[in-house]
């Protein structure tokens, strides 16, 4: 068991309890910079932990979540690395320091803890939440189809047995409702980054309609810059664009809702699949994935700081 976060093994996948211990350790080591907020409980009663990196009161916020799809282990593994990176770079890296002197960063490392636990104990390929569906033997809802923008449209499934089941109603999943409540109560988030894997894409709204977002030109150019910076490290090539034009119609997705809440810089990442292992990306890919993704996150966060709205 690592005694400090310096001893933590960032190059390996970890179980939920280890990730929770890591978060507590990081908070304890840096209580002037980080606090842990519990924004709600999962269906099975697990705390929904968010790390808040803050250097002052009443700041606008930047949200980053990882692990909303349970089997995408590379995303919480990257989230852990991001958390440590923020601590390491604050006061050393002038750009990050400037960002944190003006914005709070909120990081939810395991957004779907019931699903994550299930992937470690019962089914490594599980993607959804773990709430039972009345009248069906199939469990869980796709947490990226459960948001209240375009909910229930053709870019989601009404069949509880499908991987893209949208759920009985918007925000039916406590894991989603908790974020919705947090976003509304905070009221001043400027950037929302939801991190998925895999297929190497950076996507912005919309997924539920083909009408361009009103900020499409800016979002597109920022995506170009972010993916170019990401590619500069290990030559990982990303495509980028709106969800509906780049992949397919997807209804009830996270960033459509956040964008319509007024959070202009709303993006979804689909992390690398170099090695073509999909959701069983080898652990030796964790550090390169996190490092390259961080470069793109920094581009978006810096742009947010330089372009207040």
């Amino acid at each position: 068991i690592p005694r400090t976060t310096d001893d933590f093994d960032y190059a390996n996948y970890h179980e939920l309890s280890t990730i929770n211990s890591f978060m507590d350790m990081l908070v304890a080591e840096n209580n002037n910079l980080i606090s842990k907020i519990v924004i709600g409980q999962s269906y099975e009663g697990r705390p929904l932990n968010v790390l808040k990196f803050s250097t002052g009161a009443n700041r606008p916020g930047i949200w980053i979540d990882t692990g909303i799809h349970a089997r995408e282990w590379i995303t919480p593994a990257s989230g852990i690395w991001f958390a440590k990176k923020i601590v390491n770079d604050y006061g050393r890296d002038s750009v990050l320091t400037d960002i944190l002197n003006n914005y709070d960063i909120f990081l939810e490392i395991v957004t779907n803890p019931d699903g994550y636990q299930f992937t470690h104990t019962s089914n490594r390929m599980w993607r959804k939440t773990r709430k039972p569906n009345p009248g069906s033997s199939c469990v869980g809802v796709d947490p990226n189809r459960n948001w209240d923008t375009g909910f229930g449209g053709p870019g989601a499934s009404g069949n509880p047995c499908d991987e893209t089941y949208h759920g009985p109603s918007p925000n039916s999943e406590p894991e989603i409702k908790a974020i919705v409540d947090f976003v509304k109560s905070h009221g001043n988030l400027k950037t929302f980054l939801s991190i998925h894997s895999y297929s190497q894409m950076l996507l912005y709204p919309y997924g539920y309609k083909s009408t361009p977002a009103k900020d499409q030109a800016e979002l597109h150019e920022l995506a170009r810059k972010a993916t170019a910076e990401l590619q500069s490290l290990h030559n990982t090539r990303y495509t980028y664009g709106s969800i509906i034009t780049t992949i397919y119609q997807a209804d009830g997705v996270t960033i459509d809702w956040t964008y319509d809440q007024g959070i202009k810089y709303s993006y979804t990442f689909e992390l690398r699949d170099t090695g073509r292992y999909g959701f069983v990306l080898p652990a030796d890919q964790i550090l390169p994935t996190a490092e390259e993704t961080w470069l793109a996150l920094m581009v978006i966060m810096e742009h947010t700081k330089n372009n207040p709205y």
């Binding site: 093994d9 390996n12 996948y13 970890h14 104990t121 019962s122 089914n123 490594r124 390929m125 047995c161 991987e163 895999y198 297929s199 992949i247 397919y248 073509r276 292992y277 999909g278 959701f279 069983v280 080898p282 652990a283």
Partner: protein
């Protein structure tokens, strides 16, 4: 515990919209138990699908009959998961 012995992940490359439509039809065959990691959307994007062992023959026949190109991306998913488990245990030790 759900295991994935003999499951393969195929990377399918459609050549045109007609093949994309065929793949969409294939993906709707619930009895095959396919798990689409990347869905059939456009011929410029590959389709990755995890195929249970019992459905492999049917899926390969369908792809062959329709002249849809594919290759095996993961030979046996469980082998990779076992390797992942070994790696985690080793790191814990």
């Amino acid at each position: 515990k759900t295991t994935f012995e003999g499951h393969q992940v195929l990377r399918i490359t459609a050549q045109d919209a007609a093949q994309i439509n065929l793949l969409k039809e294939l993906s709707e065959q619930q009895h095959l138990g396919l798990d689409l990691w990347m869905e059939p959307v456009h011929e410029s994007l590959p389709v990755d699908v995890r195929v249970p062992f019992n459905s492999l023959q049917a899926v390969r026949s369908f792809l062959g009959y329709n002249h849809i190109q594919y290759r095996v991306m993961i030979e046996d998913v469980q082998d990779l998961l076992d390797e992942e488990q070994r790696h985690m245990l080793k790191s814990h030790v």
